[in-house]
Homo-oligomer: 459 residues x 2
């Protein structure tokens, strides 16, 4: 099943488009028109002349030109007929936002589900949904969802694929706040005929996607998914957040997704065997995706902690050791270079407390550079909290960071009050110099996961 046209349609019809704020068809039209999509947008509504200033048609069959993608937001009972119209019109993909099929678990819903599945499968039309918020493709500005704000996210190389609309929205909103770059968002919904496996196959060929972040509750065809994951793990960087660790969570997720049973541990083992990193929370998913997107893989687990203050360095030590990173032992030459800038009894053998060198930008630079060049160091944690009093000093580090950040991963917690250096940090991130986090522990966790991911894909 080819999903290409689903994500790259030349024309999109909104079946159930509306000019009434209280209808989902309004918000889908808003997303498409405001999102910057450059293809043709075609509202379908038998009771309106035009919607969002675009001429509406009474049905798909009345549309003069071709329709590549149909976004459907009409009541469930009408969907089989719309599907038949889609087949007749030669539609290449469907986003079925409508709910009320198998997930309501009455016989009528199940019957409708089977009916529309048969139509789509016979015609070979890939369907996202039912019961989905839709899809966003940032490379052609296609926002085929009922959430116009998705268009605000920065285009980038992270694909967010979720079995839960809530988690997808959370992920996207957090990504926006972190200014992470997204390539696409996919809400799988109730997976009529497009499941994780199909999306993974499609994304494996998507040059714009480097990282795939998955939220999983249950999997209908675990073997196919694991095979798919194993196949793409050297082409794409994948991270999975699966819920259902707890008894109640597991029960709820089975009830929610109707997926096959299967213990959480079994899934975790399978992901591991497939060479894929798993995480335990939404912010870990986002933090890890950010590091996978912005950093080269470390060659090993040996980390140097460079901190402008001792406390954050100590906090990072704890987080590193707990997550399988080792504090690097510096090469004697490196240690000598570091020592020239720090008094004898400071913390300087890793973690390095750069505090005593804090008022000398040249010294700071020399320390950072010496450690970056050390072959015993696989990755760097750079930590500093500062405010207006110290803004000139941190400026001096910029060049070294830009020059070195793509050779080894530099994961940082550079934190200042709002308005101080926010833009400089974003700039360094976009230049690939580093990835930044709000606490030393989260920075350490991201670097540890980067190493885990590198290790797993080699197995």
């Amino acid at each position: 099943m080819n999903l290409h046209t689903l994500f790259y349609p030349r024309s999109v019809a909104v079946v159930g488009a509306s000019g009434n704020f209280s209808k989902l068809g309004y918000h889908v039209m808003k997303s498409l028109t405001e999102g910057g999509y450059e293809g043709t947008i075609i509202p379908i509504n038998p009771a309106a002349e035009d919607i969002f200033g675009i001429r509406a048609h009474a049905s798909l069959s009345e549309v003069p030109g071709p329709v590549d993608l149909a976004v459907i937001v009409v009541p469930a009972g009408l969907v089989p007929e719309i599907f038949r119209q889609c087949v007749a019109k030669g539609v290449k993909g469907i986003v079925l936002i409508t709910a009320g099929f198998r997930e309501i678990e009455d016989a009528g819903g199940e019957r409708l589900h089977e009916e529309i599945k048969a139509i789509a499968d016979t015609a070979g039309i890939p369907v996202i949904g039912p019961n989905t918020f839709g899809i966003v493709n940032y490379s052609n500005r296609l926002n085929a969802t009922f959430t116009p704000e998705f268009s605000r996210a920065r285009p980038g190389d992270i694909a967010l694929v979720s079995q839960s609309g809530g988690i997808a929205h959370m992920g996207a909103f957090l990504a926006m706040r972190m200014e992470m770059g997204l390539s696409c968002i996919v809400g799988l919904g109730n997976r009529l005929n497009v499941d994780f496996s199909e999306i993974l196959t499609d994304l494996s060929e998507d040059a714009r996607t480097k990282v795939i972040a998955l939220y999983v509750e249950g999997i209908d065809t675990p073997r196919r998914m694991m095979k798919g994951l194993r196949a793409i793990r050297k082409k794409k960087r994948v991270v999975v957040y699966k819920t259902g660790r707890s008894r109640k969570g597991d029960l709820a997720s089975k009830s929610h997704t109707g997926s096959l049973a299967g213990s959480h541990e079994t899934y975790m083992g399978a992901f591991r065997q497939a060479g894929v990193l798993t995480v335990d929370s939404a912010d870990e998913l986002l933090d890890t995706a950010k590091a996978l997107s912005g950093c080269p893989f470390p060659g090993g687990p040996r980390v140097a902690i460079l901190s402008a203050q001792a406390g954050p360095g100590i906090a990072a030590c704890d987080a590193c050791e707990e997550r399988g990173l080792a504090l690097a032992g510096f090469d004697p030459g490196t240690q000598e270079r570091v020592n020239t800038h720090l008094p004898p009894l400071a913390l300087r053998t890793n973690p390095v407390d750069m505090g005593p060198a804090w008022y000398n930008a040249g010294a700071l630079n020399n320390i950072v550079r010496a450690v970056m060049e050390d072959p015993n160091v696989d990755g760097i944690l750079l930590l500093t909290m500062f405010a207006s009093a110290n803004v000139k000093i941190i400026e001096g580090l910029r060049e070294t960071l830009v020059a070195w950040g793509q050779k080894k991963p530099v994961v940082s917690c550079i934190l200042a009050p709002e308005g101080i250096w926010d833009k400089a940090i974003r700039h360094l991130e976009r230049e690939g110099a580093l990835v930044n986090y709000p606490t030393p522990e989260r920075a350490a966790r991201a670097l540890a996961n980067l190493w885990q991911s590198a290790w797993l894909r080699q197995q």
Copy 2:
């Protein structure tokens, strides 16, 4: 030792005040003058007529009126003489920002340390530092630090006391971003004669402080501190973040603070015996302090998860069970009330997926109210991700939340794109209706810690 005047001085002299940006004395003057402190500010500098538009004096002895607090930022070698002048002047407290005493660990530094300690102790003058950024008291707008941006934080009831300047800055910057309210910030530095115990004793009598958040590396007098903690645990809500869990972290923290040895586990046990909650990361410290500040204690561990989308509810289930909360079994009457608003096969027995009631504000309200009134429910996790399409619905919940939030803890993850409902959430937080977090897992962790804290203080 009485610290009251240290935090509530009528006049502050800055010994080493400067009009030169590259001097710390400049930033201290900036903090005091821009922070809104209403007492008298007296710059001391023998080489300047006036500093920041305020008439400077050559020495403390030349100041005509009294000096309550002296903030000292002159080189270490000059400090003994300044201390003697402080005694002569009748100063009631000292903030000693200058570094270069015991922490540099040469004989001269140690000697200076002992010399100034003897002067201060004999005169009974409490000294914050040396090697500290200073103190902030939000109730009188006293920012006696080199970080003017501390003044931007919202005044509130959380005291932040830290053995690390870096962690204190991080905590304050994160608190600002979370719009948490602070009562004071204290950087203990190298603890000449004011340690955790003295601060705790002082804060126990501070009516404006409800929550005390401590960052600890090592403790010189653990028994005194534990006794102090035990004494105030029913008067104040205390949470401790202690680093040094790892081998390297432990070594680094001993080297940094020069504290007595002691395994991390011993400390953890002692905190527990003192009835005090401990946490494992900086964001957990902040998140927990926020819940302790904004919520009543739950009467037990039984939580209701009310989620507008299934996925976040399932993620919260996992986090709750892992952290010692139990999913409440609803009273039959409650379940009946919930059931009237949700279709038979939705997730409705806890976690409750309120999705099917999402377009009916009245139904949402009835569900939330029924669960809040249930005697089997000790606390509520309220989760929803929404955007412009749903903003009207969430509006309808506001009244119920305000009416109920102080009876049982309501911990939420209400997340929207920036600019949508940010202000409404902050408003609900300030009215005491709920405390909000960016992810369901962090919300669950905060509620779990609230219960842990309630439980520990009863032991």
